[in-house]
Each structure stands twice: as C-alpha cells, then as structure tokens.
C-alpha cells in the first residue's frame, strides 16, 4: 500500500481510511475527529445539561466501551461537568457474564468511573437461573428478553439517574431501519432512528428514564478503529445464538451495502429518519425530533448496549416464517372480502414484539382463525405478546389509495402499567405479568416488584 500523508495534519503518515468520509488520517487526527463528531452530535441536540448524572449502559463490548471512553474524554475536555457512572446488568446466568463483566470492571478502573452491576435478582427478585429452575429451559428466553427491556431503566432508577446512554452505532440503526421495513413495522421506524427516547422527567420512576444513543452516527468500523488506536479493553461477544432472522438478514444486507458504497449506512439512517417523519400520526411533516420523543417506548432490541442480543433461543427464520404465514392468511382473508384482523402470536420466545403493537384503535376484531392464534383477546389474560395486523376491506383500500396512506389507525397512545408505571399498551406490562406468574407459583417474601417502580 502506498504511503499517504494525513489529510488533516499533513505531517504524519495516514494509517486510517475513514469509511464515513473516505479521508486518510493518522491515528491521532482520527481519534480527535471521532471525538469531535460525537461531541457535535451531543451539543447540537443539547443531549446533556451541565452537571447531569448519566448512566452508561456498559456491556463490556466495543460499543459501550468506546462510548464510555469518549464521554469521559469529552467531559474532561469541554468541562461539561457530567457525573458519569457505568451501569451493567447481570442476568444471573452462572458464567454467562463473567468475562464481559471483568472487562467492564477493568474499564471502570482505567477510566476512573464508578461502576454499578445490578442483577435481575435485585431488579426483579429473580435471577435467570432461578427463572429457569422455575419454568424450565423452554420459554425462559421470554423472561430474559422482557426483563432486559426494562433492566437499564430500573437500574438507572436504583442509582437515582434519569438518563441512560447506550452504545448503539450507525450500523445498528441502519439494520433496525431495514428490519422494520421487512417486518412492515412503521411504528418502530421512529423509535429505532431517534436519538432520544423517554422524557427523563422526575415523575414516573424508572418508566420515564431518558435514553439516548450518542454514537448513532458513528460507523461500527470506526468504533472498532477507535477502540484499537486508543488501546481500549473490550470483550468481543460472539452471540451463542443465531441472530433473530430479520436482524440477521438486515445485518448481512447492510454489510454488503457498505462494501458497495460506505456512505450508504448513513443514508439508510437518514432515510429511516425521513420515513419516521412521514408515518401518519407521527407528528407530521417537519415535526422535530422532540415531538416524537415522549411517546417513544423502548424495544428489547435497543437494550443490549452493544452486547450480545442473544435473547433468542429460536431457530433463525422463526419470526420471518411467522410473519410470512400471517401475511398470507391476511391476503386470503382479504380475497374473501372480509374485514378481518389477524393477530400474530408474536415472539413468544424473546418478547421482541412490543407491547405497543397490541394497541389497536381500529374496529373491533372479527373472525380470528384459530390456526393463527388461539389466544384470548382479553388483554388481562394473554401472556405472549401479540401484534395486530389490521386488514382493510376492499372499499377502504380503494379510498385509502386515493388519499395517500391515511389508512393507519390514529396516533396510538401508550398507557402506563398500573403496577410499575412503565410504558405499556396493557393495563399491566409484560414484565409485571411474568413476575406475577413467577411469584404466584413460588411466593417469595420481602422482595418488592421492581427496584424503584412503585
């Protein structure tokens, strides 16, 4: 490879070809540029306020390790006065988190940041090992996924922190965009692409903890480069499960896209943001990000902080096959001209289907093919999550076509779980439902549901 001078300082030899800009830089110029760009993401959106206490969701993986390092660097450099703390979640599976938590501990020491490791045991009263002992291996992933969804928020509340940052990068966000297009899930497009979710308000306990992803414009490749050149110590998680089908499919596609045109990762992210703006009821055209913030709930898939998202014991292809089957049944129902609403027995396995999907403001459901879903519509009794796919009659469809995509139900309003206050379309959120089942089967005394819920 020929030698190029650094395009920034023009002195040192370039060591890095940045995928985001195509420029060749020396290592010090690259790390400085990476930090400056992250700072720009933070300041241009007023992400933090001076003196704010911020919990960094730390999994020991590269993304959260880089995030912690960059935030610590910027906090010192710009005198932001942030109070940073590392927050790690331990599912309580013997041996599973050992290595990654060791990496987090070493990082905490090197960066001089306080570290809090919270187990499912402390957050929910049940470690995953205890859950498995109770419910068996089959289906335990549901618990793990549902608990993970709230774990960082509950953990933050335990620490008295109102803002959690996670290490999601541009590749993750692009994947989510493609995945939600494949799933046909417009509602999730907005959540996946917004910099901030949650209000961070003092009210509402852990349910309103603010979440943000300061690295959402950073390429995964550059995060790896940054970690390398800063000699950061992280644990490369190889997920023991095959990634969930949609995500696996989307990931491969994003990697191939990057090879063809590196800029396309950010282009996908921009497209996602544009589409989120154009979702009917999403706050309308030109709506600012903050408009959508309050109602944007989190997804389980957003909660892994760059670590392993192995919340899925199901064979790859499972969700895709299920969505496929549901769509086919919908088509058949449509051909028969019936107004039907088919409910998809979602992800019984990892709870990735969000509560919100269960909220449907359309006409009451009609025929419910037993083969699709033998479940009860009563929101209080169903355990596995359900997604609703509303079907329009032909008549509606024709008129919908003319008025350009007004066929979504009006803006969905999320309620709060009456027990823990977490955003939920159901009266009681899924975590609380699962906990109720667990606690009923083996009553335990002295442990409150949730760390700071009440």
């Amino acid at each position: 490879m020929p030698h190029y001078p650094c395009q920034t300082c023009h002195i040192s030899r370039a060591q890095i070809l940045r995928p985001s800009t195509g420029t060749r830089l020396c290592a010090p110029c690259f790390t400085l540029a990476f930090e400056t760009e992250t700072a720009a993401t933070i300041t241009s959106s007023s992400l933090f306020h001076p003196g704010e206490r911020i919990a960094i969701g730390a999994s020991g993986g590269k993304d959260s390790t880089v995030l912690a390092s960059v935030l610590q660097t910027l906090n010192t450099r710009y005198n932001w006065g942030l109070e940073l703390v590392l927050l790690s979640i331990d599912e309580g599976i013997a041996g599973y988190r050992d290595h990654s938590l060791e990496a987090v501990k070493r990082n905490a020491e090197v960066l001089g940041l306080p570290l809090k490791i919270l187990g499912y045991e402390e957050l929910y009263g049940w470690s995953m090992d205890a859950v498995v002992a109770q419910v068996g291996r089959k289906g335990n992933c549901t618990y793990c996924g549902v608990f993970r969804r709230q774990a960082l928020d509950r953990g933050a509340a335990v620490l008295g922190v109102r803002h959690v940052v996670t290490g999601h990068n541009a590749d993750d966000v692009a994947e989510t965009v493609v995945m939600n297009l494949l799933r046909g899930d417009l509602a999730r497009l907005g959540r996946g692409t917004s910099l901030v979710t949650g209000t961070g308000g003092a009210e509402g306990g852990f349910a309103s903890v603010k979440r943000s992803k300061p690295l959402m414009w950073a390429y995964e490749k550059e995060i790896v480069m940054y970690a390398h050149h800063k000699r950061l110590d992280y644990f490369s998680t190889e997920c023991i499960y095959s990634p969930e089908a949609f995500r696996g499919s989307a990931r491969t596609l994003i990697k191939n896209l990057e090879r063809i045109r590196p800029e396309s990762i950010l282009d996908v992210v921009r497209s996602g943001i544009d589409m989120a703006r154009l979702v009917p009821g999403a706050g309308g055209e030109g709506g600012s990000g903050s408009l959508r913030v309050e109602a944007i709930p989190r997804d389980a898939e957003d909660d892994t902080g760059g670590g392993c998202s192995g919340d899925n014991g199901e064979d790859a292809g499972g969700e895709m096959a299920r969505v496929e089957e549901t769509l086919r049944l919908n088509e058949r129902a449509e051909e028969e001209g019936t107004e039907t609403e088919i409910r998809l027995p979602a992800k019984a396995v990892n709870g990735q289907r969000h509560d919100r999907d269960g909220l449907h403001t359309g006409p009451p459901a009609a025929a419910l093919p037993a083969t699709v879903n033998g479940q009860n519509h009563d929101r209080h009794t169903h355990i596995p999550d359900i997604a609703v796919v509303p079907i329009r009659t032909k008549q509606e469809k024709k008129s919908g076509r003319k008025t350009a995509g007004d066929n979504l139900p009006p803006r969905q309003r999320l309620g709060q779980c009456e027990r823990c206050g977490y955003l939920s379309s159901q009266a009681v959120c899924k975590a609380c439902m699962l906990l109720e089942g667990l606690n009923k089967a083996r009553p335990r005394t002295g442990i409150e549901v949730g760390g700071a819920g009440g």
Binding site: L181, R261, S271, G272, M275, M320, K397, K398, R401, G405
Partner: protein, 330 residues
C-alpha cells in the same frame, strides 16, 4: 378517467446486459404486461381497477383503453435482439400503437444539458441532438455502478413521462412487479431517498409531471409473472428477452440496485408475502408536503430541495452523489 380515451405508454426497454450495472428492468415485464392485458381472461383485477374496464370492454365488445407502447433503446447489451423481439411483439399485438426512442433523447429534455454536460451547454454543440455516444460518455464518466444505474433510470423515467405527454396519454403503465417495487424501496432507502418512495411506488400522481403512473402488476411477484408467460397460450417465451443469470457476488462493481435484486430474489423464494409487505408498508407513508410553485426542485430528479440538498444547491443530495460519486478505494 374515461376508459375510451386512456392511453398508456408502457415502457418497453430491453436490457440485455452482460454488464452487471444494468439490471434487466422493463422489457420482459412490459411485454408480459401488455400481453397479459390482451390475451388473458383470467386477469385478477385486484388493485388494478384501471385495467378492469379494458378486460370487460374486450368481453363486451366495447372499446377498452388505447395503448401506446413505447420502447426505449438504451444501446446497451444485446440491442439487436431486443429490437427483434419488439418487432415480434408489434406483430403479435397489431391493435396497439408503437414507438421507439433512444434513451439519449432524454438528454435533450429541458435542463438536462446544463446539468449533465455543463461544458458543452454553452458551446455550439449543444444545439445538436445528443447522440447515444454522448450518453455513453456521460455514463462512463460516473464513478460507480450505482451512479450509472441511477442516472440511467432517472433519464428513462423522464423520457417515458415526456413521451406520454407528447402523445397526450392519460396514464403511464409501468411493468414493475411487487418484487421490483420492493427492490426499489430498499435501494432508495440505501441511497438516502426514502422520502421519495410514496410518490415513486404508489399509483397516481408523480412529481415528474401531469401524467399519473400506475403499476398494474404491483401485486404480482416476479416469479409469478414468469410462470404466467409459459402458462398462457400462446406462450410468451418467444417474446421475452432472457435474463442471463449473474454471479451472486457482492463487489464494489455491483450497484446497490443489483444488490437489492439479489437480496429479494432470495427473500421471494422463501417469504413472498414479506416482499409484498415491504411495498405496502412504504405505501402507507405520507407524501411530503410541498408548497407548489414556491419550493425549488432538483434540476435532475425533480425532488423538492428543502431538507434534501445543501444550501443554495440546485441538485439534491442524491443527485450530487450520482454526479460526484467519489472513489473510496480500499
């Protein structure tokens, strides 16, 4: 619209590409589309209420739509074979009107010289009709397969719309299958242009002009259309340009469009309803609100510039990328 006056310019563009940068787009399907319309009595009207009267008309003896079939020669690949097939199509369906235009004619459309050949625009040469070799030069100077495909499609679209206007057609029928629309959905997403999808893949008005576009085969998978061509009698095999299978590798010479095509051909096999669902999903998006006549539009692709272009630019981000695709090496 009144059925008796509706004409259509089906874009028949044979692309027989040994070049990987030219996905085979319109030819077989446009031809299929047309023959289906005329030869089939098993047409499932589905969402295409436009074509229903045509079929009914045929049965009841009333006049259906008048079709104007347009073949755009792009001078690429096996052009002589494509032209030969076009002759066969004319012969098989003599009731339609046919015309042929070279793709380079799009360069003569208003504004194109200034954007694509800024150096020649000011000289005498600009008065001459642009030739196919001018087009080849422009395409060859682009730095990536994606840019070439983009510009190619953009010019094709512009030319078809222009011809439809010239022939006072009331609608344009595109031969895109649901698979093709899904490919375009993800390709445009990958190019940062997802905001144009509602107007690009939906039946009805387009930002390009007064002639609305329709996709009568929008509910059909590519594989279904291919099956149909052999099941109908007489079969259509002899009228269709064969698609040469291309190696399913992803290199930097592949275009984004080609990547999406490979991707969906595998999804189509296992999860056909998901392909259709991608198209339906983006079809639900709102069209960006535009203050007609007030807002500046991209001089190449006609999207509204606000929010999609650098300040004071006459081109949108997407078109800037087409024309200035940079080499990234590595």
């Amino acid at each position: 619209m009144s059925p008796s006056t509706t004409a259509s310019a089906g874009a028949a563009r044979p692309t027989p590409p040994p070049s990987p940068s030219a996905p085979n787009l319109y030819a077989p399907r446009a031809l299929t589309n047309m023959s289906r319309l005329k030869a089939s009595s098993v047409w499932r009207a589905s969402e295409s209420d436009m074509l229903e009267p045509a079929m009914n008309g045929e049965k009841s003896g009333r006049t259906g739509y008048r079709l104007h079939v347009l073949y755009v020669e792009d001078g690429k690949g096996d052009a002589s074979m494509a032209s030969k097939l076009f002759e066969l199509v004319k012969h098989r369906y003599p009731e339609h009107t046919y015309s042929t235009r070279p793709l380079s004619d799009a360069l003569a459309l208003p504004g194109m010289q200034e954007v694509l050949r800024p150096h020649q625009a000011t000289t005498q040469a600009s008065t001459a009709t642009p030739s196919s070799s001018d087009l080849s030069t422009i395409l060859a100077n682009l730095t990536s397969a994606t840019s070439r495909t983009d510009l190619h499609q953009l010019l094709l679209r512009k030319l078809v719309v222009h011809c439809a206007q010239t022939h006072t057609c009331e609608a344009i029928l595109w031969a895109d299958s649901t698979t093709r629309l899904a490919e375009r959905t993800l390709a445009e997403t990958a190019k940062g242009r997802a905001f144009t999808l509602p107007t690009q893949t939906r039946d009805g008005e387009t930002p390009l002009g007064d002639v609305p576009s329709y996709y009568p085969m929008r509910d059909l998978l590519r594989k279904e259309i291919l099956s149909y061509t052999s099941l109908v009698s007489p079969d259509l095999g002899s009228l269709i340009l064969e698609e040469k299978p291309r190696p399913a590798v992803s290199t930097r010479d592949t275009s984004i469009d080609e990547l999406m095509k490979q991707y969906f051909s595998s999804v189509e096999r296992e999860y056909p309803s998901i392909v259709a669902n991608v198209v339906r999903t983006t079809g639900k998006l709102l069209v960006e609100r535009v203050e007609e006549g007030v807002e500046g539009r991209c001089e190449l692709c006609d999207v509204v510039l606000r929010g999609h272009a650098p300040e004071r630019s006459r081109l949108c981000f997407g078109c800037i990328r087409i024309l200035q695709g940079r080499e990234t090496g590595g």
